[in-house]
C-alpha cells in the first residue's frame, strides 16, 4: 500500500486578491509611517522650550599706582569689585575683575559716591 501525499490546499481567488491588496497597501503606507515616526528637525517657531541667550560680561582692570607728584586734596578708594588692597607704598599694583555691577568689596571704607565723572 502506498500513501498518497495530502493535497495542498489552494487559497481561493478571492482570498488571494485580498492578500494582494493588503500587501500593496502596506508597501504604499510604509514610507509615510517611517517619515511620521522619525524625529522632526527643530524650527524657530515650533513651540519648543525658549533658547537661552547667555551673555558673559567680564571687565578686567589692573590698577597701577604711580608715585604722586605732590600731596593733593583728592585720593582714591578702590571699588571696582573683587579683592583689592590699598597700596602700602607709593608704587604698587593690584589686579581685580568686576562684573557689570558697580558694587564690590573694598579694603577701605568708601565714601558713598555723591556724583560721578565719566567723560564728555
Amino acid at each position: 500500500m502506498t500513501d498518497t501525499p495530502a493535497r495542498r490546499r489552494r487559497l481561493s481567488r478571492r482570498a488571494l486578491r485580498a492578500l494582494a491588496w493588503v500587501a500593496g497597501g502596506l508597501a504604499f503606507a510604509s514610507p509615510f509611517a517611517a517619515l511620521t515616526a522619525a524625529p522632526r528637525p527643530a524650527t524657530a517657531g515650533d513651540g519648543a522650550s525658549p533658547r537661552r541667550v547667555i551673555i558673559v560680561r567680564k571687565i578686567t582692570r589692573r590698577i597701577v599706582v604711580h608715585p604722586a607728584p605732590e600731596p593733593l586734596p583728592v585720593r582714591y578708594v578702590y571699588v571696582g569689585g573683587g579683592s583689592s588692597s590699598a597700596p602700602s607704598s607709593p608704587s604698587t599694583s593690584s589686579s581685580s575683575s568686576s562684573s557689570s555691577s558697580s558694587t564690590g568689596s573694598s579694603a577701605v571704607a568708601a565714601a558713598p559716591a555723591s556724583t560721578s565723572t565719566g567723560g564728555s
Binding site: I59, T60, R61, R62, I63, V64, V65, H66, P67, A68, P69, E70, P71, L72, P73, V74, R75, Y76, V77, Y78, V79, G80, A86, P87, P90, S98, S100, S101, S102, S106, A107, V108, A109, A110, A111, P112, A113, S114, T115, S116, T117, G118, G119, S120
Partner: protein, 302 residues
C-alpha cells in the same frame, strides 16, 4: 566716613548738551534755591556765548568772521586768552583751533543728531596748530583766515567754575557743580570730602574707582564718549588733525579749577601714561589697565 549727601540738596538740568547737577549744602533752603537759579542762569548765558551749534552765538559770529578783526565781550576774551595760554603751556597739545579737524572727522552738528546717523562726509585730516596766529588785543580778536575756534570742553569747565563760585555766594557753605563729568568744589565740604565715582569708559553703569575730593576740580575726557564710529570721536590730536589714539581711552585729571582740569585731561589723553609724571590723574588704557598717581584713602572700615 560720613555721607556728604545726607545734608545736601541736588538740582539737575540740561545745558551744553549734557546733564548739569548742583550738589550743595541745603541747610538754608532759600539759599540752595537761589544757588540753583544762579547756576542755571550762568549755564544759559555761557551756552549762548560759546555754542558752535547755535548760529546766533558769539562763537559762531567770531568764526564766521575769520580773517577779520571782531569785537568780543569781556567774558569771551577772557576765555580765549585762557585757551591761548593753555595752548602755549601744553606746547599745542591743547589747541582751541581744532574746529576744522573736528568737523572733518564728522562732528559737524549737535551730538544728538550725530547719534542718529546724520552727518556729512568725512574729510582727510590735516594738522591743526594755528593757534599762535590768533591775535587778541583787549576786546579785539582776529582769527587767521580759514581757522575756527572750538571751545567746547574748556568753555564747559570755565562755566562750571563760574557757576560753582556763584553757588556759594548765594548761601550754601559748599557746592559742587558737575557738568557731564567736569566738576568743581567750592567751599568746605563735609570731611573727608565728596565721593566721586569714576565711570568705566566701556560701561557707564560701572564704577571703576571712587575718588574722595576735598577741594579743586576734576575733568574727564574719554574717546568712548561722543564717539560716532570706529576710531571716530571728538578728541582731536592737533599734530595730525585726526582723532587721538595714544593708548589712553579715558583720562580723569585733578586741578585747582575746572577749566585747568579740562585742559589737563585733554593733555593726558594725548600724551599717554607719561602724563602721570606731571599731572594728577587716573588713566584708563586700551589694554584694560587703570594707572593713577593719586594717593589711596587708607581709612580702615570699622
Amino acid at each position: 566716613m560720613r555721607s556728604p549727601a545726607s545734608a545736601s540738596g541736588h538740582h539737575t538740568f540740561r545745558a551744553m548738551g549734557t546733564d548739569v547737577t548742583l550738589l550743595a549744602d541745603a541747610d538754608d533752603v532759600d539759599g540752595f534755591r537761589s544757588a540753583a537759579e544762579r547756576v542755571e542762569r550762568i549755564f544759559v548765558r555761557e551756552e549762548l556765548r560759546f555754542s558752535r551749534f547755535r548760529p546766533e552765538s558769539e562763537l559762531s559770529r567770531v568764526n564766521a568772521r575769520a580773517g577779520r578783526t571782531t569785537s568780543v565781550s569781556s567774558g569771551f576774551a577772557t576765555l580765549v586768552a585762557f585757551a591761548l595760554e593753555a595752548a602755549r603751556r601744553t606746547r599745542g597739545r591743547f589747541d582751541p583751533t581744532v574746529l576744522d579737524a573736528v568737523m572733518a572727522a564728522g562732528y559737524d552738528r549737535d551730538f544728538d543728531e550725530l547719534l542718529v546717523g546724520a552727518r556729512g562726509a568725512l574729510r582727510p585730516p590735516r594738522p591743526c596748530g594755528r593757534w599762535p596766529e590768533v591775535t587778541l588785543h583787549g576786546g579785539e580778536l582776529r582769527l587767521p583766515d580759514g581757522v575756527g575756534l572750538d571751545l567746547g570742553g574748556v568753555a564747559k569747565g570755565w562755566t562750571v567754575d563760574l557757576a560753582a563760585d556763584a553757588a556759594v555766594r548765594s548761601g550754601p557753605r559748599w557746592a559742587v557743580v558737575n557738568a557731564g563729568g567736569d566738576l568743581r568744589i567750592v567751599g568746605t565740604p563735609p570731611s573727608p570730602g565728596i565721593g566721586v565715582a569714576v565711570e568705566d569708559p566701556d560701561d557707564r553703569e560701572t564704577e571703576i574707582l571712587r575718588l574722595v575730593l576735598g577741594s579743586g576740580a576734576l575733568a574727564t575726557s574719554s574717546t568712548t564718549r561722543r564717539a560716532w564710529g570706529a576710531g571716530l570721536h571728538h578728541l582731536i590730536d592737533p599734530s595730525t588733525g585726526a582723532p587721538a589714539s595714544s593708548g589712553v581711552i579715558q583720562a580723569t585729571t585733578w586741578a585747582a579749577t575746572c577749566a585747568d582740569a579740562e585742559v589737563a585731561s585733554k593733555e593726558a589723553l594725548l600724551e599717554g601714561e607719561r602724563a602721570l609724571d606731571h599731572l594728577p590723574a587716573v588713566l584708563v588704557t586700551d589694554d584694560g589697565c587703570i594707572a593713577t598717581n593719586l594717593g589711596a584713602e587708607v581709612e580702615v572700615a570699622a
